[in-house]
């Protein structure tokens, strides 16, 4: 059997754009780029707006320590998103969901343990105002990381853009929550569950939606 001949049209398309290219940087390095943005947001938020009023009641391992671990969890999710965006390196859906649920469980556990150490500002004072403030803050702090992660995803070739977007969104949200943990003075679990975990879910869904919309316009 003779070797197949490359169709003229295909060859022309290839030849029109055949300059040498630099392969994409490894996933870990691209994850660090996204995390660098998160770290910058972290520094600006903490230095610019200060820490929660009851920070002295919370041990360092629980305050700063759990925030660092949350950052690592965010790195894991962003790394999975960037890996998912490379063809042939798809993440099994079960593994992606397990990572997502594990990170949310960690966030809730930290919230609960913090509540045990310091009840902070009472939730009943003005639940809606506190809640909306936290939701807006979480979302705003997540946007820079989300944008960079989405950009890194799009620069690759995600075959399930919705999933890469969801993981990227979750990573950005968890990184944002690592900041909020040091800033939000309301420790009540109802507040944490509704507004902070709600923000994680919302931003993850936004990431998935961005991926979905982008995917529909691609080919």
């Amino acid at each position: 059997m003779s070797a197949p001949h490359v169709p003229e049209e295909l060859m022309k398309a290839v030849m029109d754009d055949l300059q040498p290219i630099t392969p994409l940087a490894p996933v870990w390095r691209r994850t660090l780029w996204a995390l660098a943005v998160s770290a910058l947001v972290f520094a600006v938020a903490v230095l610019g707006f200060g820490l929660r009023s009851d920070i002295q009641n919370i041990p360092t391992w629980l305050g700063w320590g759990s925030s660092v671990i949350e950052f690592l969890a965010a790195a894991l999710l962003i790394g999975l998103a960037l890996r998912e965006s490379i063809p042939g390196r798809s993440i099994p859906l079960g593994s992606a969901l397990t990572a997502l649920v594990a990170c949310i469980t960690y966030q809730l556990t930290v919230g609960y343990v913090t509540w045990r150490f310091s009840s902070g500002v009472p939730w009943e004072d003005n639940p809606l105002a506190h809640g909306m403030g936290c939701m807006i803050s979480d979302t705003t702090l997540a946007i820079p990381t989300l944008l960079v992660t989405v950009w890194l995803i799009i620069r690759a070739f995600p075959t399930r853009a919705w999933m890469a977007g969801m993981l990227g969104g979750a990573g950005a949200a968890i990184a944002s929550d690592a900041i909020t943990h040091l800033r939000c003075p309301v420790s009540d679990m109802r507040h944490v569950l509704l507004w902070h975990t709600g923000a994680v879910v919302l931003i993850s869904a936004a990431g998935a939606l961005i991926g979905l919309v982008w995917d529909r316009r691609r080919i």
């Binding site: 059997m1 070797a3 197949p4 490359v6 169709p7 049209e9 295909l10 060859m11 398309a13 290839v14 030849m15 754009d17 055949l18 300059q19 040498p20 290219i21 630099t22 392969p23 994409l24 490894p26 998912e84 965006s85 490379i86 063809p87 042939g88 390196r89 798809s90 993440i91 099994p92 859906l93 079960g94 593994s95 690759a156 070739f157 075959t159 399930r160 999933m163 691609r218 080919i219």
Partner: protein, 190 residues
């Protein structure tokens, strides 16, 4: 061993292609066109459409060539892009699967394990009756020779899941041959 040499050759071609070598692209096309077209046929069951999709897949491979990192295996990367092209095609057109004579498709050798089930004609015709998920793993693992790890990476499932799907599909295929004695082979051809 031959598979390893083939894979190394693909990696070398891909690396040269990334450096702007047109001949390397031709080499990749010649090495991958037939198996890709076979694989894409499982989605559309139409030789002409499968051929069109193969061209589209190579175009997307060209656009995505920066996402390949040497020395990772080339095949899973290529099949994942092709799969995406096929799914986009099905999504946009919502086309019904059509059956055309398998003889029109490029030759892909049937490995002994599949050959024991029946001749190439029987295998390909009965495979068309399997669910899409089963067909894909059979095509990728049993016919195109990818490992379950690679199949999992392409489909976005765990290697164990790919193995289970392949096992079930192979079992169903064997049952089809036993039950029907291959009597309806050719019934789905147009």
């Amino acid at each position: 061993m031959a598979r390893k040499d083939d894979e190394q050759q693909l990696v070398d071609l891909m690396t040269s292609y990334q450096q702007g070598d047109a001949e390397a692209f031709t080499g990749l096309y010649q090495a991958l066109k037939a198996p890709l077209q076979r694989y894409l046929w499982t989605f559309v069951r139409n030789t002409t459409t499968a051929e069109d999709l193969t061209q589209e897949a190579f175009l997307q491979i060209h656009r995505a060539r920066h996402t390949y990192t040497s020395p990772r295996p080339v095949r899973p990367w290529v099949y994942a892009i092709s799969r995406y092209v096929a799914l986009m095609h099905l999504r946009s057109k919502r086309r019904r699967k059509e059956s055309l004579a398998f003889e029109d498709l490029p030759e892909v050798p049937v490995p002994p394990e599949m050959d024991r089930i029946g001749d190439a004609a029987t295998v390909f015709t009965l495979m068309a009756k399997l669910p899409q998920a089963g067909q894909e793993v059979l095509m990728l693992h049993h016919l195109l020779g990818l490992s379950f790890q690679e199949v999992g990476d392409i489909l976005g499932v765990a290697p164990g899941t790919a193995k289970v799907r392949a096992h079930r599909a192979l079992k169903t295929l064997k049952e089809m041959v036993t039950d029907e004695g291959g009597s309806d082979v050719g019934a789905t051809r147009s």
